[in-house]
């Protein structure tokens, strides 16, 4: 880790306004922000670990545990809500036996909600990894899960 994280640092100045971009880059590469990463960022930017946790926990984007092989994001935007987005989330929590924000024990899926994916006209939508699936129903979603290993 130390080698690659130093490579990340090379691209960013030592200034507080670089904190969020660095955290984003770390999460892009490692999938989450680990305690070791926070320690290293703290040393690099010369700000306390507390400050870094303060900032990173404020934003919904950052996660502090390793993600699953596939990431499911249920859109709970208004249009999706009106068309049953919450029912989809409940179904996933039940089927995968995890709560929103968690990862399954076999690391197959992690599950989270997202405020809006901006595909409101095709609601309700669910995003798995980079693909967005439109006009979902509980039955279609159950079928869809089978295609992810």
């Amino acid at each position: 880790m130390s080698d690659t994280i130093d490579l990340i640092f090379e691209k960013y100045e030592r200034a507080q306004d670089q904190l969020i971009p660095i955290l984003q880059e770390v999460q892009r590469q490692y999938g989450y922000v680990s305690p070791e990463a926070v320690k290293k960022i703290s040393r690099y930017l010369k700000i306390t670990e507390n400050q870094i946790y303060g900032v990173s926990s404020f934003y919904a984007q950052f996660r502090f545990s390793a993600p699953g092989r596939h990431s499911i994001r249920v859109c709970l935007g208004t249009a999706c809500h009106v068309r049953g987005g919450a029912t989809l989330l409940e179904m996933l929590e039940r089927e995968l036996d995890i709560k929103c924000g968690d990862t399954t024990s076999d690391k197959r899926f992690d599950l989270d909600r997202v405020a809006c994916l901006g595909c409101c006209a095709l609601s309700p939508v669910v995003q798995i990894d980079k693909d967005i699936y439109s006009r979902m129903t509980v039955t279609k979603l159950a079928e869809l899960l089978k295609s992810y290993e």
Binding site: G77, T78, V82, M91, L122, V125, Y133, V138
Partner: protein
């Protein structure tokens, strides 16, 4: 300047070649919404077809023209024919279209929705006569879905950067004067006159000034900014050049949601093209104006749409608002004078500078000049992205453009979580900043969510408040504690456990939060509750007094039942029920045990789509409490 003029000539020739094409051109609508509908899966199919039949054709990805309900959209332009637009294209339809149009040269009329010329072509009407498009006035969206957003030449050929070049021939003060005459008001929601903000910043002391483009489109149910950036990024960037020149800034930042990866990618491409064409950097087009643009990705916090929170976020801090004054126009990013303009405001500027203030004054009405884009979604027949003149009535938007509601109209939410829920009596309300405010709602950034009789307004109010409550940054008490209390009360009501006193408490809490909260998030958060209390009081009372949810939405107040007379006993529902609540032998009516039922909807869906009976399972609200 001369170098750019050459580029423009070349771009215009390139565009003309596209219009007088010698080989077929296939346009695929590939903004995020088109992609979600499956547009990208069509690309390899098209390539395969072209390869197999040895056809020399060009495939172009374009943005979104607006009618999302028709996605995916594919257009074909054959030599000597107008461009024909096809809707709801799936693999099967695509193969018919390609066979007929590409091989035989005959448009596949069955899937065609319009052609791009002004006349009917082979029984296909002009696209812009389509009922959803005809009443619209497209100024900001003029290029969306028409040009290739990743090609600066397409933008240049359609008079792109002309507005900026006009601005450079004037003094910054003159540019501000034109924007003042045009009557442009901030399209982010509050409607503050753009020129006023600019003047303060222009006159503020300091050499270093910043222009920030606010693309942190956080309102759930709104996607106007995403669509514009994905479909015509240069329009927004040109607007940034104009604004930067007017206020005297030479640093521009686009603050954009990380949830919009395609928009970010297109912005990055567009910015590098601008550099290549000499539209960014030092002494742009040999003027004294230097400007550069950077992208900052947001990290997922709704409150960062608020100006001071957004600035804190760019500075690498928790995105919490601060009290004003000083206003950002005087002391903003890193303490420097900073202007934050919304994507749509910036996207409007090139048009004003190109065509003049008088031209812009032809649209809209006194005090509310110009147009506004809206994302029209929810229980509407024709959903999508639209642009209308300010002052258009809600009725025209919902029924003429949107084609009406699937079932009976109940309400429309304007302004997202900060806005209000308006009932039928407001349908003739003109959509302008003041009229919406008088009705207890706001213009907001442009999300319009239509609700029909199947939508429960109490549930919607709870949804919005739950959203703002979760997004509350926690700095001020009215917002942090007040919204939490309101959500708890609403939750009780939707469970049928509320009492009539709750309604008074909700109103008092709402009024207090509006008055006491630090920033716009808190000050507007109670709007959905206050407006529904005002216009839909009866539905609250039904939940409280009768334990009924007439829209059959609130989970605690509904139940699933099998209609014995209709059930054919096909067992489809038995198989999908996750809790074993449904039982019964094959060919005999099934039993549904309400104590085991978790109301997951699986049986209801399977009965409608897969089962033999088709509608034997119903969802009903509870009987009236005695």
């Amino acid at each position: 300047m001369n170098k750019l003029k050459n580029k423009i000539t070349l771009a215009k020739n390139k565009w003309k070649d596209l219009e007088d094409n010698k080989i077929p051109i296939i346009f695929v609508g590939a903004a995020s919404c088109g992609r979600a509908a499956g547009a990208l899966e069509l690309m390899p199919e098209i390539e395969k077809f072209i390869g197999e039949h040895n056809i020399n054709a060009e495939i172009l990805q374009v943005g979104c023209i607006g009618p999302c309900y028709l996605e995916p959209l594919v257009d074909i332009k054959m030599p000597g024919q107008p461009r024909i637009s096809y809707s709801n294209v799936n693999a099967k339809v695509l193969s018919n279209i390609l066979k007929s149009h590409l091989l035989d040269g005959i448009p596949y009329t069955r899937a065609a929705i319009g052609n791009f010329s002004k006349n009917t072509f082979m029984d296909i009407p002009p696209l812009f006569e389509h009922p959803m498009l005809k009443p619209q006035v497209r100024i900001v969206l003029r290029n969306c879905g028409i040009i290739n957003p990743e090609d600066i030449d397409h933008y240049l050929a359609t008079d792109g950067y002309q507005g900026f070049m006009n601005a450079l021939t004037k003094t910054p003060e003159e540019v501000i004067g034109i924007v003042r005459q045009a009557g442009l008001r901030g399209r982010g929601g509050a409607g503050f006159p753009t020129y006023k903000k600019w003047t303060v910043c222009r006159n503020a002391p300091g050499d270093e000034k910043y222009l920030i483009c606010n693309a942190d489109e956080g309102d759930p149910g709104a996607f106007m900014n995403r669509s514009l950036i994905e479909s015509d990024p240069h329009a927004v960037l040109e607007g940034m050049l104009i604004a930067g020149y007017a206020i005297g800034a030479n640093k521009g930042i686009v603050y954009i949601r990380a949830e919009y990866p395609l928009a970010i990618e297109r912005l990055k491409k567009a910015i590098s093209q601008m550099r290549e064409y000499g539209l960014l950097g030092k002494n742009i087009l040999k003027s004294n104006f230097s400007f550069d643009i950077k992208i900052k990705e947001g990290a997922g916090a709704f409150v960062c749409g608020e100006e001071t929170a957004l600035i804190a976020s760019i500075e690498g801090k928790r995105g919490m608002p601060r009290s004003r004054p000083p206003f950002p126009a005087i002391s903003g990013l890193f303490g420097c004078p900073t202007i934050i303009n919304n994507v749509e405001t910036l996207g409007t500027l090139p048009n004003i500078l190109r065509n003049g203030a008088d031209w812009y004054n032809r649209f809209g009405k006194e005090g509310n000049r110009g147009t506004k884009t809206f994302s029209l979604v929810g229980k509407i027949r024709r959903s999508g992205l639209i642009e209308v003149q300010l002052g258009t009535t809600l009725r025209e938007i919902i029924f003429d453009i949107g084609g009406g509601v699937q079932k009976n109209f109940k309400a429309i939410q304007t302004g997202g979580p900060s806005g209000g829920c308006l009932s039928e009596e407001f349908l003739d309300l003109p959509v302008d900043y003041e009229s919406l405010a008088a009705a207890g709602s706001i213009m907001g950034s442009g999300g319009l969510i239509v609700m029909d009789e199947d939508t429960c307004v109490v549930d919607v109010a709870k949804y919005f408040l739950d959203f703002t409550q979760k997004e509350s940054c926690g700095k001020c008490i009215p917002c942090r504690v007040g919204t939490k209390h309101m959500v708890e009360i609403l939750d009780r009501i939707t469970k049928g456990e509320g009492n009539t006193e709750d309604l008074l408490t909700l109103r008092n809490l709402g009024d207090t939060i509006k008055k006491g909260a630090l920033c716009g998030l808190g000050q507007t958060a109670p709007n959905p509750v206050l407006t529904t209390l005002r216009y839909f009081r009866n539905e609250y009372l039904e939940h409280i007094k009768e334990g009924r949810c007439r829209a059959v939405v609130c989970k605690s107040l509904i139940e699933y039942r099998v209609i014995k007379e209709k059930c054919t006993g096909c067992q489809s529902c038995v198989r999908v029920c996750p809790t074993g609540a449904i039982s019964g032998p094959r060919s005999e009516p099934h039993n549904l045990d309400p104590t085991k039922c978790i109301k997951c909807r699986s049986c209801y869906e399977i009965c409608r789509f897969d089962a033999i009976a088709g509608d034997a399972i119903v969802i009903r609200t509870a009987e009236k409490r005695s």
